[in-house]
Structure formats: structure tokens, C-alpha cells
Symmetry: C2
Subunit: 737 residues, 2 copies
């Protein structure tokens, strides 16, 4: 770094915004509105679905439109068979094994028979293969999403008690009813996603900040943990949904704790410990191992064998996967009545499903340098979920763990996804009987051991607390909200808390009074530095955030606090005194020729400086002298002394003003101007200045000459204007005339 | 205004934030956090309920506490009997007449028998007299509030069909059930208000901006209008509540339109026309009339007489007020079951009731120069509503129209309110039989004619659209939401829209690239002025709003757009080229002694300038030369040309950063720094700088020396640093060495 002892030398005229505009020619151009920017942001997403339909399509546009709708064409054309195919096949097989395991396990979260987890690992992948822009994500079940679907399932078809009053339920078994609910919810979720994709509103996931997602997934992990306890303990606890379901479920489990199936519990603990240790080893020796040890597949195979060999189901009364559906069932139409019952829940499912897939896809897109189109992803997932739901699979998104396997084992394109789907198909069609003796507690244990990553996010609390308290509030608020109120309602609460923290941050900012650093044109908080110059009679107040309806009043109070008096009150006191003076004048008992009063009044021909209007319409036009309000009055009148002649407001951080703010500022400025305090605004954004003009901010009291480009310009102007004032009493000079 | 042709002359060293800190001694002080400011804001409300209970109370504090809890003591001590009493009595009598009329009319909105409107004009006033801080508002029924209560009443006790399943309903008549519901909702509303007052959260009404309230009340007026149509037309339409109730009610009215009672309709039209005209005259000749003509009272008396004399009820089958309850009924306890059923509705009622009263009270407090304590008002209204509800009155707040009468007819204190309550009592106890022949259509007509003011607020739409589009969206969104979804749900929707507009405004701001105004230290949008200087190789990017999770990505895209290249992509391309160069070096087929390559490579001992890490961990430490990336390569390599050496970011409007923004900035800065672009930040807020330090923003790549106090300092530094560069290709000078 070179030395900084260079000189900063500037010599130019003092500019006000007006004089600056006079001496610098401006280019007239149409400024974009916030709406325009918003539109631009929307259309800046690489492909606009509507643009091509509406305008005349030439060949290139049509091609681009097709390409953006069918991203497969893009990557298939550049597919390097020799380089990529082997990787895709190997990756597809490993991912397939994981997808089968997860499909089985997550179907328990959705309160569905395990076969349908395998369906979810198959159908949605087929359509995503053609429509998805991500080449690396593994489409399929996601634990949080499965749990959200499960909450609707257990609400409409509870284990004990009658199902909801839905006509399509007639004649169906409980499992069939549940599958109908799950596929209908998934269908509706797909419709929502497709609609959002078509409407180009994929950007809404920006509102799910990292902090919010972290709190949400941690709380979801707690839900998942609690929901799996019954399998691990071999208890028969009904699925409970709705607010406080975690507490009710735990209560139910503790009531039944004495009926724990020891065989299930021991097996689960062994599996959790073994899988945990092997996963740690996989992590530690990542570099040395050619592929990570597929410990989950290994323990599942062992557990299947042991359970079959020792007849766990019969001897220890262990709950096993049981009869699997071999092959595929015919498609079913969704139930419109379920749509009506679950619309409020399907929407957050659609959002969460997309948000997870999009964030995972973005990570790998940045890593491998290609672009993800958020709206096309919405369309792809929407269609995939609609297609899958027609074939009885449930909500699909992606799981980070599975995607990591697919990418790290060499997957280059969605060909790997297709091969993993084929694996799931083979198991469904031919091998599902092998899984029938698998104890459900094994699946529960595997789900629990995979929660480690999500649960360790609790460590973020102290980190966030130290760095940024509002974000900590968002995290804790979201997490508690989701744990207590459930995933959908909790997400809404978290979103509300998050948006309110943003509002809060701009609503209660740190105001400061600035002063000059001697010998420079720099101004800093006067409390911060030892050597500061603050000219008498001038106050520099910095407004450090946008001004809008929620903080207009706050700033007014801060400003009154900073200047030390309430201008409206001063105005009224002065006006009362004025009334008294006028009365005395009429009574002729005020002889202003006498010496005692010359200090207070002086004759003047210029009375335009004191204006008292509106609030108190008396004025001094008919008075033969001007009044020095800071002198003592010869009668009892408590007019507060005002030692201020200029108030400079630093607007550099005011990024927008709304109409309430505009009205509030206008009122406040008038109050100051009427007690003879000049108000100056510096570093005001050009757009805000323009808005003030278009909103009739200026009148005969509030003039455009109050605007200055920099603080120092305004200060020089003020000093020049008041250079003849006596220190501490700027009006007395005039009084001496 | 004095001439501005003064000179602005500054000569000082060029400062970076580091060198500035070295030469200016700083005072160490604990900065307040956002939370502190928030707390301060809460406690800055004049009286803190808790402060005195918790700390040691001396006599003065105790006195203040009592004074703030019982504001009556404050104004009773200064009560000027001779000056004020007459005004209060006259005002009390006029207000009482209005209160009686409005009580009768608004009880129809609440779907209750008219007597209870008189109760509402009596009981809440008694407690407010002691507890309220406003001296001018007239406590009692408010149409919007009555309608909100009415929505609960008709939901729980519908006209046709069985009432809700509430045990307390057993053995009650429909009217008694309705009164129980109304008083229970009012009781709960009082509890909410009292709780908010005790918790000192009165400030939440700031979120109900003027625009929101305007949209809300306009929509409420539409609801009121529709609800009164059935009285005006003499139809028997059941009260409908819930979303789309306006549409259903209108549908029902149009179905029945042929059964219109012509007598009711004619009478209503006559009354509406007469009252409207007289009110206009009152307005026009305000100055000349001693008191406004009490036209509403006059038409009511006439209507009563005519209806009685011509036996309207019997002959024309007109719906009249009917049997009034003479005197007061015994208090009733609220129903806890109704609490449970209506908690979601009682909360918005509590908020709206308080917000209306507080805003009206504030207007008159400013006018008459005394302070309103929001939290004490909450306590006062809470207790008043609880007290009133115990005596079967319904939700009380204030009505602007009634308060205007009270103030303009000379009311100075709540003594006027007390006298108006006495009037209501007299009517209830002794004169209610006189009102029995009054047709309900007259009351409906009076309600409708008073909606004029609220309905003319529709004119705000074009006003807002021209001035501030987001506010127009808030207005229309709130209004449509309330009309379609009902008052409570619509209010929530409006609040959501309002908060989202604030987020939107800071999320999608106008970014700009700045350039220097020649001969000055001023920088403006380079598109705005004709004469601008933009030094080659330097880009100044202004970030015009806070940076947070929802716009981090937006700014990154804007920045990439402004500089014209994606630094990450450039970095990767360079790295690929570097790999090729290294391969060539190993193969020895790259002879860098040859002339053709001296332009591309040069020997160097200093290789610390080119760092390639993380994303692409290859570095140039083992290369014997430095690379000029902007020259042509002797092999095929598409390394984008980067003509930028310095990027200056203007942070003056960045009022806060969250952790997402921090991470995003860090990543973006590293990408630029790694492609040899120096990043500078200017005019950064002291608090943000401090936060960056505490959040470990700085490391060996991102240095504190990147901060400069002003744009011009940074620019002078950059120019000094690159003064030997050839124009347009700053590295080629070095390459020639």
C-alpha cells in the first residue's frame, strides 16, 4: 500500500443544489420507478415465459423458448458420452441405493406405506429429467416435506377415530385413504409450483433467508426426531398434527414408555451408534477412501437378513415393513375435497419444496458454472409433482445428502438421476419382497442418525447472538414457532418475524448529531472524537435510515431532543407574548422609546422574517419594530430561549421517503422556520429531490434553496450568512442597528 | 438569500479511514444497540408503568405515578370553573344528543337491539372520565367497531339457523344471546387493550399508516353502506359474516328487491337528501352560524312523531325500533366459550378501537397543546370496555364526528363527556318510550348519510398513484382486502401489503454508477450530467439502500452489470489458462525468452499480487514471471479482458447490513480482488464499520485499508496509485519493465 500523505486540495464555489444545477448542465432522462425496477428484476431471470408468446417470434427466439422450456436439449447436445456416461452410471447406482433407503424411511414420515417412498424415487425423476435446469440434484423425497405431507395425512385420516368427511374416502381402506390424501396434496402443491413458475414469481424464495431456513430446518429436525421415536421404541403412538403436536406426541410416548419393545430399542441404538461412527470415519478419511462406505445400505441388508432369520416379527413382535406392493398401481385422480381441506398447507409445502431444491441446485450450479433458472425449476417441479401425484407418489424435492452422493460419485447430468430412478423401479417391480422383513425401527434409526447435521445448527444461536441480535431473534423465533405451531404455521410466523426485524432496523436507527473535524471538510458524530468543532447556533442532525410512516414520529422526537426545544411550543409561547405586546401597544402603556426596552424591540421596515401562520394566525406586520425573542421581556412571559439559527439535516442515508414522511417533514420544517431557524438538507438523493418536487413539497416557506450537495457547502453557507453575528446571540447584532 | 459565490477551499491530507483514525483521537464509548434504541423508544413514552413499581419510590415519583394513572387529577386541579364549566355543559348537551342518535344507529350495525347503543354511550364514559388522558374525545360507539362486533354476533347467533354450540346460550332468547356475544367480545377486547397498555406496546399503532387507515375506513364504509341497505329498503336480509359477505349480502338484497317497502325507501331518500343538504349548508356557513343546525336530531324527532301519528308500523308494515328496555339491566359475566370462539376477531377490534381513539385524541392534543399517553389510553379504554361490557354495552372507542361536535361546541374537558353520558342515561331511564315508534330505516338513512366523508376517500387513489405508487398499492390492497375478506382478515392483509411495500422499496432500489463533476469533489450519476469525468479503470458504484438477505443477490447482479464482467468467471478462465501455461512450461515448448512473448509474460520476484484460492486452488508461486491477462495469448484461451483496476463502492446510504449481506459482500469482494481489481468502500457508517470488525469481515485479502471517508479521498488515492499506468491498460507499463 502506498503512503497516503498525499494532499487533498479542492477549491471551487460553494454550491447549493440550486446553484449547482445552474452551473452544471443536466441531461433529461426518464427515471425508472420502483415498479420498473421490480419488473426488470423479474424479466432479468434468464427466460421470460411470456415474452415470446406475446411478441413476434422469429426462429431464434422460438429456439430459445424451446431450449428454456426443455433444458434437456441444451445439455444433451453437449453430452460427452465417453467422458460422462461412466460417471453418470456409477453415480446413478450409488444414488439409487440411497434413494431407495430414503424413500422407504421418509414414507414413514409421511405416514404412508413404504412402497410409496419408492414411487416417489421414480416418477418425479422422469419428468424432471426433461424439464429441470439443474444437472446435479437428485429429485425425490425430502424429510421435511414428507413430514409436512404426513401432517395433512394424519389430520384428515387419523389412526384412531374417523377420517374427515370426504366423499372419495367411501369404500377405501385407511392406507388407501392416506395415499389419496398424500397424492392430492402433492398434486395441489404441483399446481401451486407450476402457477408460480408461469407467473415468474420464483424470486419469492429470497424472503427465506439463510437464518430463517436454518431455524426452520432445525425445528423440522426436532419434529422428525419426535415422529421417529415411536418406531425406535416400538410403540403404537397415533400421528398427531396441528399446533403443539410435538408436545402431545412426547406426552403420549412418555405415557406408553413402559411398553417399549426392547428388541426395537437395542437394534436402533446399535444401528445409530454404528452408522454414526462409520459416517464420522467416512468424513475423516474422505481423501483416502475411493468411495464412502455405504454403511446405511450395509446395515439395512444385515437388518433384513437378521430379522428374517430370527423371525423378529413373530418372536419379538417387532413392527416390520410388511407386505410391499409389487409393481405399480394405476393412476388416480386427485380429490378436490382434499384440495379444499389442505390448500392452506399445500402452499407452504410448495414453497419449502421449491426453496430447498433451488438452494441445493444453486450450490452445484455455481460449483460447475452453469445457470439455474428459478422459474423453469418451478415449472419442472410443478409438473413433476403433478405427474408423480397421479401415480400415487408424494411430495418430491431434493435432499442435500442424496444430491451430495450423486455429485461426489461422479454424476455429471440428470442421466444419473434417471439411472437411480431405474434402480428404484427394479426394486419396486422385482425385489420389494426382500424388504418385507425389515423392521421399521431400523428405518427410524437411519432417519434419526441423519438428523445430526440439521440438529447441530443449534450452535448457530450463540454465533448469531454475538454478531447480529435481530438475526438471532429471527432464528429463535422461527425455530420455536415451527417446533410449537407446526411446520406450516411456524414458517409463516418465522417469515413475519423476519420481515418485522427488517422494518425494525430501519424504524429505530441510531441518530446522531455531527460536528466538524477541525481543518477538514469531514463531519463525524460529535461524541466520537476528542477534537471537534461545532459552530454556535448550528446543529447538524444525521438521519441514518429511510423515513417512512413507522418512524416519522420517532425522528421528530429525536430531532426535538437534539435541538433541545420543541419548535411548536416555542412558536406558541412567542405568539402569546406577541398578543400581549399588541395589547400593551394598544393601551399605550408600552413606551418603546424608553431605554429599558431598546434591548427588546427595534424598529424595522423589514418584517418578512417573522411569520406566524396557520396554527396561530397572528402576525407582526402591523408592529413598528422587530422582536428579539431571546431577550428578557418587561412583562411575565415565558418564551423559551432559542440559541439555534440553523439546522442542517444530513439526508445521505435516506434511501426513500413515503407520503407520511413527506407530510411529517413539511410540518416539522415549517415549525422550525417559523421560530427563525433555517433548515438545510444536504446529500439528498437526486430521486428523492425529484419526488419532493412532484409531491408539492415546496411552497413559500419551504424553498428549494435549502438543499446543498455536501455538509461542508451548507456549513460554509451558514457561516457566511451569520458571520457578523455575536457569538451565542445571533440576533443581537441586528438588534443593535 | 445571500449570494452563494463564496469559495469552498479545502486543503488537507488524503485520508483513508485508517489514516484518519491515526490522526484523530477517538473517544471510546459503548454504542447502543438496536435493542437499546427500541427500549429507549418504549420508555420515552411519557410515563412508564413499571419503572415506579420496580425502583424505590420517593414521594414525587409516587405522585407522578398516581398522576399518570389517574389523569383526572391533573386536569381537575387546573379546572377553571367559571371559564370552562359553561362550555362543558353546553358541549355535553349537544354531544349527548349526537351520542344518543349514534348509539341507536350503530347498535343496528352491531346487530343488537337499539337500547344497548344507549348503554354504550353511558358506561364506558364513566371510567374514561377518570382514566383518560384526552380531554376532548367523546367516548362511545364507533361505526366500524360496531360492525366488527356485529360480524361476530351474526356469526355466532345467525338470524336463521341455530346459534353456535355455547353452553351459556341455553335458555336465552336470540337477542339475549346476541347481547352476551357482544359483551363478551367487548370484554375480551378490553382485556387485550389493558394487556397492551400494561406491556407498553401502544406504539404498534404506528404500523397502521395513514394510507392503510384510509383504505381500511373506506372499505369499512362500503361494508356499513351494504349492511344498512336492508333497513333503508325495509327488507329482511339475515346478517352475513365472513369472507365475501358483502357480495353475498348484495346478492340476497337483489333477490329480494321486489319486496322493497316503499314507505321505508321514500322516507330514507327524503332524510338522506335533507340531511345531506343541511350538512352542506352547515359547512358552508360555518362562520356565520352560532351552532350548526342539529338536523339529525330534528329529523329523528319529526320521524318519530310522523311514524307515531300515522301508525307507520301497523299501516305500512314499517320496521320500527320497538320495545326499548327502560332503565338498566343487572351486570352479566362474559362467556369464556365466546372468548375462545372470537379471540381472533377481538384482537383486531382492540387494535382498531385504540388506533381510532388515539389518532383522534392526538389531533386535539396537538391543537390544545397537551400530551396524550398512548399506553395510558390503552389502559383507560381497556378498563372502560371491561366495565362497559359487564353492563352489556358493546365496543367503545370514539367517533371523529361526535368528538368534533364536543370540541367545537366548547367542550374543554371530559366533564362534557360526563354530561353527555348523563343525557344518555336520562333517555334510557325515562324517555326511551319516545323512541319506540322510530322507523329503523331512519337510523339506517342517518348512518348512510354520515358515510359521505369516509366514502369520498376514494378520491385518494389518483392522488396516491401520481405521488407514490407503492402507497397506492397499499391503499387499494387494504381496501379490496377489507371489502372482500371482511374487516379483521382484510386488515391483516393490508398490514401485510404495507410491510411488504417497505421491504420492496429497500429491496429493489435504483443503483447508479457515479462520475466526477470536473473541478470539484462532487460525484453524481454519470447519466445525469453532460460534463462528467470518469477516470479509466475506475468504476464508482453507489448502493442506495441497506443490504440484507433479500437484495444481496440483486446488488451482486447489478454490480456485475455495471462493471461489465463476472469476476468469478474471469477468475476461472484465467486459472484455466494458467494451467495450460504450466503444462506448456513443463513441456518446455514455451520459450519466454522469445520476443513474441515478452508482451505476455515478465519475470518478477513479487508474486503476491495474483492469488487463486478456494474455488480454484492453483497459484502462480512457482511461475518465473507475471502474466498480463489483458494481452493476447499465444495459445487458444478465451480469458476476458478486464479494463478495471479499482472499484469504489459508495456506502453512504447503506444504513444496515445483515449477516447474509456480510457473507455476500465478502465473497463478491474476494472475487474482484482475485482478478486484480482493488475494492474501496467510502462513506461507510461508523456503526457498520464496527460491525464488520466484530463479525470477522477482514482477513488477509480483505483489508481495513479499503475504507475511505469520502469518495474523493478514495479517488485521489486510486489516481495516485495508478498515476504511472498507461491510459486504458494499466498493467502494460509494468509489462514493459
Amino acid at each position: 500500500m502506498v503512503t497516503l500523505r498525499k494532499q487533498y486540495v479542492v477549491a471551487r464555489p460553494v454550491y447549493s443544489e440550486d446553484s449547482f444545477a445552474d452551473s452544471n448542465e443536466k441531461i433529461c432522462r426518464k427515471h425508472k420507478t420502483v415498479l420498473d425496477h421490480f419488473k426488470e428484476y423479474l424479466t432479468s431471470e434468464e427466460n421470460s415465459l411470456l415474452s415470446c408468446d406475446l411478441s413476434s417470434c422469429d426462429a431464434k427466439r422460438a429456439k430459445n423458448a424451446v431450449l428454456s422450456r426443455l433444458p434437456i436439449i441444451g445439455w444433451m447436445r453437449i453430452y460427452r458420452v465417453r467422458e460422462w456416461l461412466l460417471g453418470d452410471v456409477v453415480s446413478g447406482i450409488s444414488t439409487g441405493l440411497v434413494a431407495i433407503m430414503q424413500g422407504l424411511a421418509f414414507s414413514l414420515l409421511a405416514s404412508l406405506p413404504p412402497s410409496y417412498g419408492l414411487y416417489t424415487a421414480f416418477f418425479p425423476v422422469l419428468t424432471y429429467f426433461f424439464l429441470g435446469t439443474s444437472r446435479h440434484i437428485s429429485v425425490g423425497s425430502f424429510p421435511v416435506l414428507s413430514l409436512m405431507v404426513g401432517a395433512v395425512v394424519t389430520r384428515l385420516v387419523p389412526e384412531d377415530g374417523p377420517p374427515a368427511n370426504i366423499t372419495e374416502f367411501v369404500g377405501l381402506t385407511q392406507d388407501q385413504q392416506r395415499v389419496l390424501v398424500a397424492s392430492s396434496v402433492t398434486f395441489l402443491m404441483g399446481i401451486f409450483q407450476l402457477a408460480m413458475g408461469i407467473l415468474q414469481v420464483g424470486f419469492i424464495v429470497v424472503y427465506l433467508s439463510d437464518t430463517l431456513v436454518s431455524g426452520f430446518t432445525t425445528a423440522a429436525a426436532v419434529h422428525i426426531l419426535v415422529s421417529q421415536l415411536k418406531f425406535v421404541l416400538g410403540l403404537n403412538v397415533p400421528g398427531i398434527s396441528g399446533p403443539f403436536s410435538v408436545i402431545y406426541t412426547l406426552e403420549e410416548i412418555f405415557v406408553q414408555i413402559t411398553s417399549t419393545n426392547i428388541c426395537d430399542l437395542v437394534m436402533s441404538i446399535v444401528i445409530i451408534v454404528v452408522v454414526f461412527i462409520v459416517k464420522e470415519l467416512n468424513d475423516r478419511y474422505k481423501a483416502k477412501l475411493p468411495v464412502p462406505i455405504p454403511i446405511e445400505v450395509i446395515v439395512t441388508v444385515i437388518a433384513c437378513g437378521v430379522s428374517y432369520g430370527f423371525k423378529f416379527e413373530k418372536i419379538y413382535n417387532v413392527d416390520v415393513v410388511g407386505k410391499m406392493i409389487s409393481g405399480y398401481e394405476s393412476p388416480i385422480p386427485p380429490s378436490v375435497e382434499v384440495f379444499q381441506e389442505s390448500a392452506m398447507e399445500a402452499f407452504p409445502i410448495a414453497i419449502v419444496g421449491f426453496a430447498v431444491a433451488f438452494s441445493v441446485a444453486k450450490v452445484y450450479a455455481i460449483k460447475h458454472d452453469y445457470t439455474i433458472d428459478g422459474n423453469q425449476e418451478l415449472v419442472a417441479f410443478g409438473i413433476s409433482n403433478i405427474f408423480g401425484a397421479s401415480f400415487r407418489s408424494f411430495a418430491a424435492s431434493t435432499a442435500l445428502s442424496r444430491t451430495a452422493v450423486q455429485e461426489s460419485s461422479g454424476g455429471k447430468t440428470q442421466v444419473a438421476g434417471l439411472i437411480s430412478a431405474m434402480m428404484a423401479m427394479i426394486v419396486t417391480v422385482a425385489l420389494s419382497f426382500l424388504l418385507e422383513p425389515l423392521p421399521r425401527s431400523v428405518l427410524g434409526a437411519l432417519v434419526i442418525v441423519n438428523l445430526k447435521g440439521m440438529l447441530t445448527q443449534f450452535r448457530e444461536i450463540p454465533y448469531l447472538w454475538r454478531r447480529d441480535k435481530p438475526e438471532c431473534v429471527v432464528w429463535v423465533g422461527t425455530c420455536l414457532g415451527v417446533i410449537l405451531l407446526g411446520l406450516d404455521l411456524g414458517l409463516a410466523v418465522g417469515l413475519g418475524v423476519e420481515l418485522f426485524t427488517v422494518i425494525f432496523r430501519i424504524q429505530f436507527p441510531r441518530c446522531s448529531v455531527l460536528a466538524n473535524i477541525p481543518g477538514t471538510d469531514l463531519y463525524r458524530d460529535r461524541k466520537d472524537y476528542v477534537q471537534m468543532v461545532e459552530p454556535t447556533g448550528v446543529k447538524i442532525f444525521r438521519i441514518p435510515s429511510p423515513i417512512f410512516f413507522a418512524n416519522t414520529e420517532f425522528f421528530r422526537n429525536k430531532l426535538v431532543e437534539a435541538v433541545g426545544f420543541n419548535p411548536l411550543r416555542v412558536l406558541r409561547k412567542r405568539n402569546k407574548a406577541l398578543r400581549k405586546i399588541k395589547q400593551m401597544l394598544q393601551k399605550k402603556d408600552l413606551d418603546f422609546a424608553e431605554g429599558g426596552l431598546t434591548d427588546l424591540f427595534y424598529s424595522t421596515t423589514d418584517d418578512s422574517n417573522v411569520k406566524l401562520e396557520l396554527d396561530l394566525p397572528i402576525d407582526v406586520k402591523d408592529l413598528p419594530f422587530r422582536i428579539n425573542w431571546n431577550a428578557d421581556f418587561p412583562f411575565k412571559a415565558s418564551v423559551p430561549r432559542v440559541d439555534l439559527h440553523s439546522l442542517i439535516l444530513d439526508f445521505s442515508a435516506v434511501s426513500f421517503l413515503d407520503i407520511s414522511a413527506l407530510k411529517g417533514l413539511k410540518t416539522a420544517f415549517k415549525e422550525f422556520i417559523r421560530v427563525d431557524v433555517d433548515v438545510y438538507i444536504v446529500s439528498c438523493d437526486a430521486y428523492i429531490l425529484q419526488k419532493l418536487h412532484s409531491c408539492m413539497f415546496f411552497d413559500d416557506e419551504i424553498l428549494t434553496s435549502m438543499f446543498f450537495p455536501t455538509l461542508h457547502d451548507a456549513m460554509l453557507h451558514v457561516l457566511e450568512r451569520h458571520k457578523n453575528d455575536r457569538i451565542g446571540d445571533w440576533q443581537s447584532k441586528a438588534a443593535q442597528l
